[in-house]
Subunit: 97 residues, 2 copies
């Protein structure tokens, strides 16, 4: 299992709509992806336009190849992309402890 961490900045004042959209995108799109485990959305306290989306995937390739290269990705980006103030910074992590 690996963890995707997407560091997201949205346009100011869009928090409520974004939280509805991202929850919808996770439930309706990402949860259908091969290797999807679970997702968590964190909202910045010091930076109210900042969110961390953390998604567990069975393998790195389930995210980087199967999801990003498949038909679900454009569906996902259509739902959440309009809120992004800049491209999300995405890296992957293993659980060290």
């Amino acid at each position: 299992m690996i963890l995707e961490v997407a560091d997201i900045r949205i346009h100011p004042g869009q928090q409520a709509a974004f939280e509805i959209a991202i929850a919808h995108g996770i439930t309706s799109v990402i949860s259908q992806a091969q290797g999807f485990g679970q997702a968590r959305v964190l909202h910045g306290i010091e930076s109210p336009e900042r969110y961390l989306l953390q998604i567990e995937w069975a393998t790195l390739e389930d995210h980087t190849e199967h999801f990003r290269g498949g038909p679900l990705f454009p569906q996902w980006r259509a739902i959440v992309g309009p809120f992004f103030a800049e491209p999300p910074r995405v890296e992957h992590f293993s659980i060290a402890g």
Copy 2:
């Protein structure tokens, strides 16, 4: 409950020693702190010197005031501080979903 996320960069080649140290620091120091919930250490796949330390606290002040202002903080930094290549970037998050 809030989540502290510390974005850590360590000196190259110190991963094994750092992982032992941070596990020791969590067990012996942070776990004693008021309001401590649980901790998770994530290790960067694309950035092998990068770690995310995620700690659940009962309240923001348990971290920012009680822990950082109390006697446990210097004990913690004595254990993990020598590994840091730069000051960790720390922000706090609420669970949005």
